[in-house]
C-alpha cells in the first residue's frame, strides 16, 4: 500500500464538516421541510404581525375628544391641543416600541423566535440518531465526541441564520420600516448575532437530550422552555413596560439581547452604543452553554 493510501487526517476536528453537511443535507434536500421553513414565518408575520395593529388602537379616532370642553378653550389652545392629539399616536408608539410601526417591532422579534424553533429541532435529531443507530456508528469511529456535538450545533446555527434571512425578507416585503441609519452591513450584523444565539440555543437543546433516548423528552422540554424564553423577552412587548419581576427575567434572557441588537441594527435610528453589550452578552451565553455541552458530551456520549 502506498503512503497516499494509508494517509489519514490527524486533525482533531476531522469529520466536523462531513457531519455538519449530513445534517444540513437532510434539510436542504428535503423540499417539504425547506418549504415549510419558509411558509411558517410568512404565516406568523402576515397573520399575527398584521393582526396586532397596535398603532390603530391609539389613533386619534380611538378616543372621544370632549368637544364641549374644547370649545370653552381659547382658539390658540384648541389648535395646540388638536396638534397634540394628532401627534399622540406616534409619540406613544415611539416611546413604547421605538418605532411607529408595531409590525416592524414584532417582525424583528420574530427573527429571534424563528431561531428558537429551528434550534429546538436539533434535540430531536440527536434522539433520532440515537434511536436509529447512526449515533452508534459514529461513536465507533475515531471522531472526537465534541465534533459530533459541534456538528449538530453548527448545522442548527446555519439553519437559524437562513431562517432569519427569510423572515427579514418577508418582513421587508410586508412593509418593514427600516431605521434611518440602515445599511446593507446591518444585515450582516443581524446574521452574526443570530448565529451566536443559534449556537447557544442549539448547544442548550443538545445538552438536554444527550442522555435521553425518548422522543417525548425533547418535545416536552421544548414546549416548557420556548414560551417563557419568548414571552419573558422583548419579542412582543417592551421590557420597561413589564412588571418588575418579569423585567428581571427578561433582562437576563439572551433572546432579549438578540432582539434588541436586531432592532437597533434594522429599525431603530439610535442605540448603537449598546450593540457591543448585546453582542457580548449573547456571545458569552453561547460560549458558556457550548462549553457545558461539550464537557457533557465527553461524559455522556460514551456510555
Amino acid at each position: 500500500m502506498s503512503n497516499e493510501e494509508t494517509r489519514v487526517s490527524k486533525n482533531r476536528f476531522h469529520g466536523l464538516w462531513a457531519l455538519t453537511n449530513r445534517d444540513l443535507k437532510k434539510w436542504y434536500q428535503n423540499p417539504i421541510v425547506f418549504v415549510i421553513g419558509i411558509i411558517q414565518p410568512i404565516l406568523w408575520l402576515a397573520l399575527l404581525g398584521k393582526a396586532m395593529n397596535i398603532s390603530s388602537i391609539i389613533s386619534p379616532s380611538s378616543f372621544q375628544i370632549p368637544t364641549q370642553l374644547f370649545a370653552q378653550l381659547p382658539v390658540a389652545a384648541q389648535q395646540g391641543l388638536a396638534q397634540y392629539f394628532a401627534g399622540l399616536q406616534n409619540q406613544i408608539m415611539l416611546s413604547s416600541f421605538g418605532t411607529t410601526s408595531y409590525f416592524s417591532f414584532m417582525a424583528m422579534g420574530m427573527v429571534a423566535f424563528v431561531t428558537v424553533f429551528t434550534t429546538a429541532f436539533v434535540g430531536i435529531s440527536v434522539v433520532f440518531d440515537r434511536r436509529l443507530g447512526f449515533m452508534n456508528k459514529v461513536l465507533s469511529t475515531p471522531v472526537s465526541r465534541s465534533v459530533i456535538i459541534t456538528s449538530k450545533v453548527i448545522s442548527a446555527s446555519v439553519r437559524s441564520v437562513f431562517q432569519a434571512a427569510i423572515v427579514t425578507v418577508i418582513a421587508y416585503l410586508l412593509g418593514l420600516q427600516l431605521g434611518a441609519n440602515f445599511t446593507v452591513f446591518s444585515v450582516f450584523g443581524v446574521f452574526a448575532i443570530v448565529f451566536l444565539i443559534g449556537f447557544g440555543l442549539s448547544s442548550m437543546f443538545t445538552a438536554i437530550t444527550l442522555r435521553t433516548s425518548r422522543m417525548e423528552t425533547p418535545q416536552a422540554i421544548f414546549n416548557l422552555v420556548t414560551l417563557p424564553l419568548m414571552f419573558a423577552s422583548s419579542a412582543y412587548f417592551p421590557i420597561n413596560k413589564m412588571p418588575d419581576w418579569l423585567q428581571a427575567i427578561a433582562n437576563v434572557n439572551p433572546i432579549s439581547y438578540t432582539i434588541d441588537a436586531v432592532r437597533r441594527l434594522m429599525i431603530f435610528g439610535d442605540g448603537y452604543a449598546l450593540l457591543p453589550l448585546d453582542f457580548a452578552f449573547v456571545g458569552l451565553f453561547a460560549l458558556v452553554v457550548t462549553a457545558i455541552c461539550v464537557v457533557l458530551s465527553w461524559r455522556f456520549l460514551n456510555k
Binding site: R7, V8, N302
Partner: protein
C-alpha cells in the same frame, strides 16, 4: 504486530452497570490473527456489552483488553481507527445515497477524499451495490442495507472486523451471501473477524473457533468440531429383525463408544459415524442379525449450546432504546 500475536487479548474484563448489574464478569479469551471467532450466547448474556467494550464505545469497569496491540481503555482512538465495526442495527443514513454513506464513513475516519472516492467504488463493487450507488438508502432492501453496512465497516481497511449479528432478520439467500463475504474477507484479505450470532449453524459453518458466554461468563471456548466431539460424537440409531439383545455384540465393534438398547432399537455413540455405520451393518449381518433400519445423526452446535446454556428461555430486560432499534432493524431488513 508479529504474525502470531493475538489480535484480541482479554483478561478479566468486567462491566458492572449502575454498581449492581454485572453484565460481563471477569472474562478471558483471545482471538488469533486471521481467524473467524464466533461469540455466542443467549439474549442478555453479555455479548453486546463485550463487543461494545472491545470497540471502545463502552468503558470497562475493570480488567484489561488489548485490541490490535492497543489498550481499549488508554488507546481508544488508535483502536477505533484500526478496527472495522458492522453493528447489529442498520446505521446508514436513509436520506443519503449508498455512495454518500460510504464517503461519510470515510470522512469520519479522516480518510482524504482523494483516497476515499476510489475506495468507495471498490467497496461498492465488492458488495455488489455499484448499480445502486446513487439511490437513497430508503429504497434499499434488507440485504442491500446489510451489504452497505459491511462496506462502511471496511472503509478504513481494518485488520480486524467486528460483526454484531450480521444476519439478523435476513432471508436465507441474503444470509448465505453474507457468509460468502465473511469467508472472502478472511481468505482474500487475511482479515480477522469477530462475530456474534444467534444462528448456530452459521457459527458452525463459518467460525474457526467459538466462545459461548452466559450470565456474563465464558462457559466454553473451542473449535466447533471439538465442542461437538465433546458431546460424545455421532449418534447411530438402528433396528434389527429379531428380539435378541445384541448390545454386547455392537459394543465390541471398532469405533463404538457406547450402546444403549431402547424398546425396539439401539442407540450407538461413535466419534466417526460414517465409518462406524458400515462396520456395524457388516458385523451384524455376519452374526445373523441383519439390520432393518439405520440412521446417522451428527451432533450440531445446537446441542453444544443447549448443553452449556441450558434450555430455559431468557427474558432479559432490554432498554426501550434497544428494543426500538431491534424492531427497526428487523422491519427494515424485511423491506
Amino acid at each position: 504486530m508479529s504474525e502470531n500475536e493475538d489480535v484480541i487479548k482479554v483478561e478479566g474484563l468486567t462491566k458492572v452497570f449502575n454498581h449492581s448489574l454485572t453484565a460481563v464478569d471477569h472474562i478471558d479469551f483471545s482471538v488469533k490473527q486471521g481467524e473467524i471467532f464466533g461469540f455466542l450466547g443467549p439474549n442478555g448474556a453479555g455479548k453486546t456489552t463485550t463487543i461494545s467494550m472491545l470497540i471502545t464505545v463502552l468503558r470497562p469497569t475493570s480488567g484489561k483488553a488489548m485490541v490490535l496491540g492497543g489498550d481499549i481503555a488508554k488507546q481508544s482512538l488508535e483502536v477505533r481507527s484500526s478496527i472495522g465495526v458492522v453493528p447489529q442495527e442498520y446505521t446508514a443514513d436513509e436520506d443519503l445515497t449508498g455512495l454518500e454513506n460510504i464517503l461519510l464513513c470515510a470522512d469520519l475516519y479522516g480518510i482524504p477524499r482523494s483516497v476515499s472516492k476510489k475506495r468507495a467504488f471498490e467497496l461498492l463493487q465488492l458488495v455488489e451495490l455499484t448499480g445502486f450507488k446513487d439511490k437513497r438508502v430508503q429504497t434499499y432492501s434488507g440485504g442491500m442495507r446489510r451489504r452497505l453496512e459491511l462496506a462502511c465497516g471496511l472503509v478504513n481497511r481494518p485488520k480486524l472486523l467486528f460483526l454484531d449479528e450480521p444476519t439478523l432478520g435476513l432471508d436465507v439467500q441474503t444470509r448465505a451471501a453474507t457468509w460468502n463475504y465473511v469467508k472472502m474477507l478472511k481468505k482474500e484479505f487475511g482479515m480477522t473477524l469477530f462475530l456474534t450470532t444467534h444462528y448456530l449453524e452459521e457459527a458452525d459453518a463459518l467460525c474457526d473457533r467459538i466462545a459461548i458466554i452466559d450470565h456474563g461468563k465464558i462457559v466454553v471456548t473451542g473449535t466447533p468440531t471439538d465442542l461437538k466431539d465433546s458431546l460424545g460424537g455421532d449418534i447411530i440409531t438402528l433396528s434389527v429383525k429379531d428380539q435378541t439383545d445384541i448390545t454386547d455384540l455392537i459394543g465390541k465393534i471398532e469405533h463404538v463408544k457406547d450402546v444403549k438398547k431402547e424398546s425396539d432399537s439401539y442407540t450407538v455413540k461413535s466419534a466417526n459415524g460414517e465409518v462406524t455405520a458400515p462396520l456395524i451393518i457388516e458385523a451384524l449381518r455376519k452374526n445373523g442379525h441383519p439390520v432393518t433400519k439405520l440412521s446417522l445423526t451428527k451432533p450440531t452446535l445446537n446441542e453444544v449450546y443447549l448443553q452449556y446454556t441450558g434450555k430455559s428461555m431468557r427474558d432479559a430486560e432490554e432498554s426501550r432504546e434497544n428494543v426500538f432499534r431491534q424492531r427497526m432493524t428487523v422491519r427494515r431488513a424485511r423491506q
